[in-house]
């Protein structure tokens, strides 16, 4: 048993670190540092830099343009990315639909879609949830009826993250309603967002942001070759995507980085004013989260190690999402508490790149409430934490 990096791994670490401090767009990192809201273009530019380095397909096989990295290398990459305070990679293309296409797609689909996903030239969104089908996803009602060499789509998708930026959507729709189990008869389809009959309504979240949407389909016709794999097997493919990307699901590296920043912020307030008088109480709260995070880091490493030796991830891997989001949210809460009154103003303009004035407070303080509010979503989306527990009870505990 050991966890120290080999010489070549250390070299790799240096290379990644240098990439983020030199080749990656520094103005995007500066915006992150200053608490400036990122635009679509910032995300794309950042991801393109990673792509040009050949690192976009972190988890992809080499034959499709992936890195072919070892588990340790992936771990190092995510650690350095978080340490650089790099914005997270939008998952819908690179982590979600990409793997489905290279695993189940036709040769033509691979040719057509994978390059645009890798290069971030095409923005994807995920059309799974519907108004009546959230936790019970398999009950989805969206229809896709075959008509010659087309499918005709009717129904509503909702909560669709960043669909307003998307060129494509991957979705689950029902191609057959005459089935014994509701998981059958669902197909995995790719839809161009400018297809006639698609309309979009923003859903504003509690923090006042437009991040999610409802997407309506009214007789939308798509070529039948935008079906991935076999008709009626969409549930299986869709599930692959939910289990993929274990490597980063817990957000350990990001949480570690944010916790370190939180400690510096506390120290800074102690030096220059505004720290809680009951500073020891607060330091212990940080420590409480930190210890949980140490545990999660090792749980994640155990998972990575077993995957690296070709084994299936152990039962411990199932807790990554739940514990990861709980820790994220606990950290958000600590930022909120530390900010005191500085978290109360809601002055959205102050986060724009061209805001002429000064931010009302240190940007971490100014963001604290909004971020805490926004990340309540983390325990709801991607299979809520309650649903994750149901899965663990059934699949891991066998009860």
């Amino acid at each position: 048993m050991h966890v120290t990096f080999s010489d070549s791994e250390q070299q790799f670490q240096t290379e990644v670190r240098e990439f983020f401090s030199q080749e990656y767009p520094q103005d995007v990192l500066q915006k992150m540092h200053d608490g400036i809201m990122l635009e679509k273009e910032d995300f794309v530019r950042g991801q393109k830099a990673i792509y040009e380095k050949g690192w976009a397909g972190v988890n992809w096989p080499e034959e499709y343009g992936g890195t072919g990295w070892s588990a340790t290398q992936k771990h190092i990459f995510y650690e350095e990315m978080a340490a650089a305070n790099c914005p997270s990679i939008v998952p819908f293309g690179l982590s979600m639909v990409g793997p489905v296409i290279y695993t189940y797609g036709s040769e033509a689909q691979k040719q057509k879609f994978l390059p645009g996903i890798l290069s971030s030239d095409e923005w994807w969104c995920q059309g799974y949830s519907e108004p009546g089908s959230g936790s019970d996803l398999a009950s989805l009602k969206m229809r896709a009826e075959r008509d010659g060499d087309e499918y005709v789509l009717n129904g509503t998708k909702t909560w669709t993250t960043l669909a307003q930026h998307a060129d494509w959507m991957f979705l689950l729709a029902r191609t057959n309603t005459d089935v014994a189990r509701k998981q059958e008869g669902i197909s995995f389809l790719l839809v161009k967002m400018d297809a006639p009959g698609i309309s979009l309504t923003p859903i504003i979240t509690l923090d006042g942001e437009h991040e999610i949407n409802s997407v309506f389909f009214d007789n939308v016709r798509i070529p039948a070759d935008q079906l991935v794999g076999e008709e009626g097997k969409g549930w299986t493919y869709g599930k692959l995507l939910l289990t993929h990307e274990r490597a980063n699901i817990a957000g350990v590296a990001v949480s570690q980085n944010r916790l370190e920043d939180l400690k510096s912020l506390l120290a800074q307030k102690q030096a220059s004013g505004g720290a809680p008088r009951e500073v020891n109480t607060f330091a212990r709260k940080i420590a409480h989260v930190e210890i949980q995070l140490h545990a999660l880091e090792y749980t994640e490493l155990r998972t990575l190690a077993s995957v690296a030796t070709g084994k299936a991830p152990g039962p411990e891997s199932s807790i990554l999402k739940i514990k990861g989001t709980e820790i994220q949210q606990a950290i958000d809460n600590l930022y909120y508490e530390l900010a005191g009154y500085n978290a109360i103003p809601y002055l959205r303009e102050q986060f724009a790149a061209d805001y002429p004035g000064q931010q009302l407070a240190e940007s971490t303080d100014a963001w604290a409430a909004l971020r805490y509010f926004n990340f309540r979503k983390a325990s709801i989306y991607g299979g809520s934490n309650e649903i994750q527990k149901n899965i663990i009870a059934k699949a891991v505990l066998g009860v």
Partner: protein, 376 residues
């Protein structure tokens, strides 16, 4: 021992419930929140007419003469109704300082106008470095040729933009943390040298950062004895803490029962969410925390009503509990609503946000725990 309301109190509560139920729809509230108005002047006029603005003021001032029990009843309903009008700022904080202060002239004239709904007030006490310490005051009033000059900055002054008069804590002697040497002034918000930058708050209300630069003040503006303003400030903040805890309890009650209702109606897996035992237990937890919080609220209110010597500790205990169990309850309500819980459109998120902000107001749960320990 008796926890029931008397007839007058019952009538008061019923009239509040009736008015808010009839005239304070959530959708209308959101229209106001999303406008630049900040709050509804029409509603404020109604509050005056209903006597709410006179509630805590003594009968000699033509007030209603209500005590902590009456204030609890009102604030609880304001919480349930998600009322955004600046009752706390104008009546409890600003009005409270005037009422407890020693400036007879201002007390008489301004409180009369507050009760009539003619003016708004704000209490400017927090500063960038002060966190929750009332005695940490760097804003200074220094001697000049004829009177004093006020300099400094106050942050997150609730209702700071709409206020016609500002109550300001300023240092007239001593070092920045000295409990002595703080004087309270009440001045027109438009006085020369005052600059206000206002903004919405994360819970949909309004506040302002306020800069004072060479603002002339004199003895007629003073509402506390020179250098002895802290005691008044502490008492007013204690009243306000109790008030926001009552508001929080109203919110917790709304969240608990709205969540139960939602899970009964929302179907997944072919059954109502409320049929899942995992969720039933979560809602039972919410309910238990609601009732425990209510008990601590009643305890604190009764101790204040009876002027028990340990009432400050009881308020600290209550605020601590609301800040932990209350916020947890808010998070649970959001979680159990799934995606709907994080939408701006639904009231759940707005209750949750207000509850979160209430934890910070007048000192969050860690701060209150410390006060409790110190008092015990």
């Amino acid at each position: 021992m008796d926890f029931s309301l008397n007839d007058d109190q019952t009538m008061l509560r019923d009239s509040i419930v009736q008015y808010l139920g009839k005239s304070y729809a959530f959708e209308k509230r959101m229209e106001v929140v999303d406008s630049s108005a900040g709050f509804s002047r029409d509603k404020w006029a109604d509050f005056a007419e209903l006597g709410w603005l006179s509630l805590p003021f003594e009968e000699q001032l033509d007030g209603f003469g209500g005590g902590p029990i009456e204030m609890m009843l009102l604030m609880q309903e304001l919480g349930k109704g998600l009322v955004i009008e600046p009752y706390l700022a104008t009546v409890v904080l600003g009005g409270g300082c005037l009422a407890r202060g020693n400036n007879e002239k201002l007390r008489g004239s301004l409180i009369a106008k507050v009760m009539a709904g003619e003016i708004h007030l704000a209490l400017a006490y927090a500063e960038a470095q002060s966190r929750f310490e009332l005695a940490h005051v760097e804003c200074r009033a220094t001697e000049a040729s004829d009177g004093l000059l006020l300099d400094g900055e106050k942050i997150v002054v609730m209702n700071g933009a709409a206020a016609d008069y500002l109550v300001v804590s300023a240092r007239t002697s001593g070092e920045q943390d000295d409990p002595n040497g703080i004087t309270l002034f009440c001045i027109e918000a438009g006085r020369q040298g005052i600059e206000r930058s206002s903004y919405k708050t994360v819970d949909g209300m309004e506040a302002a950062h306020i800069r004072f630069e060479g603002v002339r003040v004199d003895a007629s503006d003073q509402i506390s004895a020179r250098d002895e303003g802290l005691a008044i400030l502490e008492n007013v903040i204690r009243d306000a803490t109790l008030a926001v805890c009552s508001e929080a309890l109203g919110i917790m009650e709304a969240l608990t029962y709205k969540t139960i209702e939602y899970t009964k109606n929302r179907q997944q897996f072919g059954v109502p969410l409320s049929s899942f035992q995992a969720l039933q237990h979560r809602m039972v937890e919410m309910f238990m925390e609601l009732e425990q919080s209510r008990s601590l609220l009643l305890r604190a209110v009764i101790k204040c009503h009876e002027k028990a010597p340990d009432r400050a500790a009881a308020i600290a205990a209550l605020k601590y509990y609301i800040g932990t169990a209350g916020r947890k309850l808010g998070e649970e309500a959001v979680q159990l609503h799934g995606g709907m819980g994080v939408t701006y459109e639904m009231d759940i998120a707005h209750y949750f946000k207000r509850l979160t902000v209430i934890d910070t107001l007048f000192g969050n749960s860690d701060y209150q725990m410390n006060r409790f320990v110190a008092a015990a």
